[in-house]
Symmetry: C2
């Protein structure tokens, strides 16, 4: 009985994710689901990325946290529309589900954006299990977190389309083998692009921005056809 | 129906946790459930702690990860008995449950230890929801993770009995307000002991070790009565 119910919940989520995906595709919007551990610097990466992309790219962000609107407050300074979701309103969920994205998207003018970024709840496990109707997924890993995280949390790295290795400005002060970290990522997901950067200094941001822009262009081309 | 099933799972877990708790109490063992985000330095804190406590204290460790035995390998160098649990064998669980601890404890000689440390799966959300039969819970937070984590993941900080602020050796290189972090912890859980330390340098380890030793002594006193 338990297995059946879990299956049912996932089926419902999958159906809603497909609905979201169709809706965003109709509008030519590229949807990027950004996931990581708590404290990897997701919000800092996104703030810097939005500042670099705007106004050429017109983004919006849905940001998920169990509590607080801290991340939405930080993202709002970019001028991008931001919708904060607090999962404690429905039980403190450890991830965002498709129906939450559908509801949050009601507060966004989908005709006025090219890019919808979903900053998921800080968690390297559960969010990878839930399709929210995104086009691509990115995982942010801080270099303070150790080189073995891809091997310990393989689903996340298997499910993502790009990885960001953040906080490279701290490398001189860490016993961290960034080459080993990258090799571990590629062992789980060969050919995945790995972007090494410091959101704090801005170093290494450019290739990541170019990757996002290329995805947006590809989406617009597909949607026009 | 869904709610009923979830309720049932939690009821079963609670019953098994109580069984574990009784069994460990009979043996006079203090059980500490250590939780954190991935990459906070839990394993490093525990390696250093075991080295400081042994042989005065006789510990054992159950370490949970989705994949790999990296943490068990690192913990084993202390000479402490270590049991690695890989949750990918039963679906990639994002936390340890009471029945997992019961099974893992079968591989430990409970007559030969005073302290059982459970290093939970790296996740600041879900492990806090599962009683495993522990006596106390500790959360490890790295100073690279930002000051606001207690406010964003309040359940974890509410449920724990002690907090470790790790990686203080990196403070000179971070824009991190350790006083604000401590205030945020105390806002969620007033009077919770907060141990600031660097597992790397060993600085600040002593008060944390003393806290654990006091818990072990208290447990032995209660169990003798």
């Amino acid at each position: 009985m338990e297995i059946k119910v879990v299956r049912k919940v996932l089926d419902v989520n999958e159906r809603m994710a497909e609905q979201n995906r169709r809706r965003f595709a109709e509008k030519g919007i590229f949807v990027l689901n950004v996931m990581s551990s708590p404290g990897s610097g997701k919000t800092s990466v996104l703030v810097k990325s939005l500042q670099h992309m705007m106004p050429e790219i017109r983004p919006a962000v849905i940001v998920g946290d169990i509590c607080t609107s801290n991340d939405a407050d930080r993202l709002s300074v970019t001028g991008s529309p931001v919708v904060q979701v607090n999962t404690d309103e429905f039980g403190g969920d450890c991830h965002l589900a498709a129906h939450v994205i559908e509801k949050a998207a009601e507060d966004i003018d989908l005709d006025a954006i090219d890019l919808l970024i979903v900053e998921n709840v800080g968690n390297l496990v559960c969010p990878a299990e839930f399709d929210i109707g995104e086009d691509a997924r990115a995982v942010v890993l801080s270099v303070t977190e150790g080189e073995d995280k891809p091997l310990k949390y393989p689903l996340m790295f298997r499910e993502c389309n790009a990885a960001v290795l953040n906080k490279t400005d701290l490398l001189p002060y860490l016993d961290y083998d960034i080459k080993a970290a990258e090799e571990n990522i590629l062992q789980i997901h060969p050919d995945m692009p790995v972007f090494k950067m410091s959101a704090k200094t801005g170093e290494g941001l450019e290739p990541w921005i170019e990757w996002i822009k290329a995805q947006i262009r590809a989406k617009k081309t597909v949607c026009k056809d």
